[in-house]
Structures are given as structure tokens and as C-alpha cells.
């Protein structure tokens, strides 16, 4: 949910823009990150993990944990917490990691 009236910062007067998440048109505020814009629409899951196919979303918020990968305008594995959302951007969940990993050691 967008926090339109912040107790300290007051009203949010940023411009509203629109982007697509999994083909659905959503609202965002200019200057928001992709992760924040997705979460403002009540969605927490950004993708699934590679090996166990478990749900993943924003965790550290500062681009260090790499849990919030999404696909942006065709480019895979973009960090949604550290990339700004843009008008008309096409964002997809990170669901298509190759399932080639074994539980075993490799490099």
C-alpha cells in the first residue's frame, strides 16, 4: 500500500506513473524502486529460488542479498530493490531460473 500521508514527511506529492508486473498494469510513484512499486500494490513475492523453488522477495533492501531479482524489459536478474521503476517498464517475476543445479558440490 502506498503511504500517502507520512507522519513525519507529510503528503507524497510525487508523480504517479504506470508499469507492468507480469503483464498487469500497476501504479507507482516516480522515484520508487521496482521492489517498492511492486510491494505498494500488495505483492511481496518477486520470484522463486533456484534450487528449492521457494518464494523470494525483498530482504535487505540495499542490493546486497540478491533475493529480489526480477526480469526488466527482457533483461534477466535485475535487482528490483536498487533499480528505479520507469513509465511503461515491463517487469516479470524471476521464475525461470534454470533447474540444472544439483545439491552436490560444484566449484
Amino acid at each position: 500500500m502506498h503511504l500517502t500521508n507520512h507522519p513525519v514527511l507529510g503528503k507524497d506529492d510525487r508523480k504517479t506513473i504506470q508499469f507492468y508486473f507480469n503483464n498487469k498494469l500497476l501504479n507507482a510513484k516516480e522515484g520508487q524502486t521496482i521492489a517498492a512499486a511492486i510491494m505498494a500494490n500488495g505483492i511481496k513475492k518477486m520470484g522463486v529460488s533456484r534450487k528449492l523453488q521457494q518464494s523470494r522477495g525483498l530482504f535487505c533492501g540495499v542490493g546486497r542479498c540478491y533475493s529480489c531479482f526480477v526480469t526488466v524489459d527482457g533483461l534477466e536478474h535485475v535487482l528490483s530493490c536498487s533499480t528505479l521503476v520507469e513509465e511503461g517498464m515491463e517487469v516479470y517475476s524471476n521464475l525461470s531460473d534454470p533447474d540444472v543445479r544439483r545439491g552436490e558440490n560444484e566449484y
Partner: protein
């Protein structure tokens, strides 16, 4: 832990653990392998792990590699699945001038039975469609492949342990002397004694040699490798400089630097490697690089393995080489034959430490 052994193998990397395993197969010797760290913490754990034969020259050296590669499937039946895959090897070239060299290579290797084909651009692209259209051609051989070095060393050690061999890790060797005809190996954890001794210290062979008063003419050569995020399987061959691992990661590396035991990755090399990656496989431009690592490769001064008895030191042996992953099955076998007093299946004279003019006692 027991103090006295028939054989002590110093070093538990791919060479040391293979020798320990092959010695243990006969179950007639008590064997101890000592490592200053944990296996895979050095050279054997920082490799692209090719089992690579086809353009190793001269032909007699290619032949050594070929025999060893041939042993892999046999080895897997004994120690288990080391994820050895004979993917075939492709070494691309970018100019027509190189085609002449390629044809000469194929001719030479044929003399010892290594089949090398010289492919046209279209033939290469048919085998490996992701390669750049700007290549001119490639040499190709079915014999090349790769292995999972982590599984390989783990299984050498497991199998050796099962046969009764002992291992001591995180235990640096500080001194080696001879007392009453026995080797006394002084380690951080105390003294161990043995009748026979094998130095398999990889990049540390020089300093181990010094303990025995001999010069081991090897250099330490750093290779930096760039690793991508896991990608869908799209490269099916082992390509000169580039390969895709089982888990989807692509490993790219070509660099060689003599900088001592310095494991840093430098952007000079990393960037150049990234450029090479894109030159070879243009689709790699858009993928994420997750990490780079450096390995210190062992490079005998003339490039060829040092294998056999240590001149002047009775019952002392050495095995130090580049390409330890490819050569380990054969080297383990040959060293076992040698230590057991038998004749070796391949004459090791050519690989003796004796061949270096510079060899001199520094003791």
C-alpha cells in the same frame, strides 16, 4: 595418530590424493598423506578442471595426457562418479593463418593416435551454435572433457581411507630429515616416520624440495577465472578458455601471470577475460558475472611433469606438474608402480628431475 608409516605423501591435492589412493589399492602398505591446509584450498580447488589432451605438444606429451584421460572411465568404476564428461574439446582460431598450424597439429597428434579434426567455421557453429560468427575455425577432438575436481579429490580421499590410508589436514610440514634410513617428517602436530616419501606439494614443491636440499625447478603461475551466474545449459563442449559447468555457471579463463603466491583478482585481467568471453560467445555480454577467482598453477620450468625418484635421496620421490587434473589417474598409477619397485608402464626417464641442468644441491 600412528607415527610410523611405509609411505608418507606430502600434499593431498589432486596429485597427492591420487598417489595415496593408488598406493592404497594394493593394501600392503601403511600410508599417510599430510596437507598444510584442507584439500582443495590450493591449486586443485581453483581450476577450470578440464581433462584436456588434443593440443598438448609435442606428441609424446600429448600421448601422456591421452593415456590418463583414457583411465578416467576406469577410475570412475573404482572410486565412484566424479562427473567426468567427455564433451569433446574445441579450440577456436580467428585467422586463416592459424588453419595451417591447426593442420600441422592434427598431423603430429595423429602419429601418437590422438585424433584431431580441423573444422571450418560452419562446422564449428554446427557443433556449438553460441560461438561467435567471427571465428575462422577450430581444432576439435572427441577425447577432451572435464571433471568435477571437488568430487574427484573427495572420492580419491574417501576411497583411500576405505583402503586404510590415513590423512592429516591443517598440518604444515616444517622439516624433513633422514634418520637411520627413515624419513622423519616434522609437522605442526609432531614427527612422523616413513620408509618412502613422496613430495606432491604442487605450487609449494620448491619449498618442500628445499627441506631435502634439492631445487625443484617450478614456477607459480596465476590464472584468473571469471564465473557467471548459472545459465541454462547452452555450451555442450569444453571450449579453449570457456566452459559451462554442470550447474550452469560458465567459467572463462586464459591468463597466466608469474606473480608468486598471490591469489588476488585484478581488474586488468578480469576485464580482458570478459572481453574474450564476449569475443568467443557474444551472448555472454548480457549475463551477470558473480565472481572471479585465481588459482596458482604449477609450472615446471620446461613445462613438462617432474615425476620419479629424487636424485641422491634414496626412497624419496617427487610428482610436480601442470595439468594435474588430466594427469592424476595416470600419475597415481605410475608412482605406485615405481614405489612398489616394479617397472613403470611408461618409461619415466624423460620426466626425471635429472633433466634440469640447473639441478644442484643447495643443502
Amino acid at each position: 595418530m600412528k607415527k610410523s608409516y611405509d609411505v608418507i605423501v606430502v600434499g593431498s591435492g589432486v596429485v597427492g590424493s591420487s598417489i595415496t589412493y593408488h598406493l592404497s589399492e594394493e593394501r600392503n602398505k601403511e600410508i599417510l598423506s599430510i596437507d598444510k591446509d584442507f584439500p582443495l584450498s590450493g591449486t586443485s580447488g581453483s581450476t577450470q578442471a578440464w581433462v584436456w589432451v588434443h593440443n598438448k605438444t609435442p606428441a609424446w606429451y600429448g600421448e601422456l595426457n591421452m593415456y590418463s584421460a583414457e583411465l578416467y572411465s576406469f577410475l570412475e568404476r573404482k572410486i565412484g562418479d566424479v562427473e567426468y564428461k567427455r564433451t569433446g574439446g574445441i579450440a577456436p582460431f580467428f585467422s586463416e593463418a592459424d588453419r595451417e598450424k591447426a593442420l600441422r597439429l592434427a598431423e603430429k597428434q595423429a602419429e601418437v593416435g590422438i585424433k584431431v579434426e580441423v573444422l571450418s567455421r560452419d562446422e564449428v557453429l554446427e557443433k556449438e551454435p553460441s560461438l561467435s560468427r567471427s571465428i575462422a575455425g577450430a581444432t576439435y577432438s572427441k577425447i577432451d572433457g572435464n571433471v568435477n575436481p571437488f568430487r574427484l579429490i573427495e572420492l580419491y580421499i574417501r576411497a583411500a581411507r576405505k583402503n586404510g590410508a590415513k590423512f592429516s589436514f591443517y598440518n604444515p610440514v616444517m622439516d624433513i630429515t633422514k634418520e637411520n634410513g627413515l624419513f622423519k617428517v616434522t609437522t605442526q602436530d609432531g614427527d612422523y616416520f616413513s620408509n618412502q616419501l613422496v613430495l606432491a606439494g604442487g605450487p609449494w614443491s620448491k619449498s618442500l624440495g628445499k627441506l631435502l636440499g634439492i631445487d625443484v625447478p617450478i614456477k607459480q603461475v596465476r590464472g584468473q577465472i571469471v564465473v557467471t551466474e548459472p545459465l541454462r545449459p547452452f555450451l555442450s563442449h569444453t571450449i579453449g578458455g570457456v566452459r559451462q559447468a554442470d550447474n550452469g555457471e560458465v567459467l572463462i579463463g586464459y591468463s597466466k601471470e608469474e606473480v608468486g603466491y598471490d591469489l588476488r583478482s585484478t581488474l586488468d585481467i578480469v576485464q580482458d577475460t570478459a572481453r574474450m568471453a564476449i569475443d568467443f560467445v557474444p551472448a555472454l555480454e548480457k549475463v551477470n558475472v558473480v565472481r572471479c577467482f585465481s588459482g596458482i598453477r604449477v609450472m615446471p620450468e620446461d613445462g613438462f611433469p617432474i615425476l620419479g625418484g629424487i636424485p641422491g635421496i634414496e626412497k624419496g620421490y617427487i610428482a610436480a606438474m601442470h595439468s594435474g587434473i588430466t594427469l592424476s589417474p595416470l600419475v597415481g598409477t605410475l608412482m605406485t608402480e615405481l614405489l612398489s619397485g616394479g617397472e613403470t608402464s611408461i618409461d619415466l626417464e624423460r620426466y626425471s628431475l635429472n633433466r634440469f641442468d640447473s639441478l644442484q644441491s643447495i643443502g
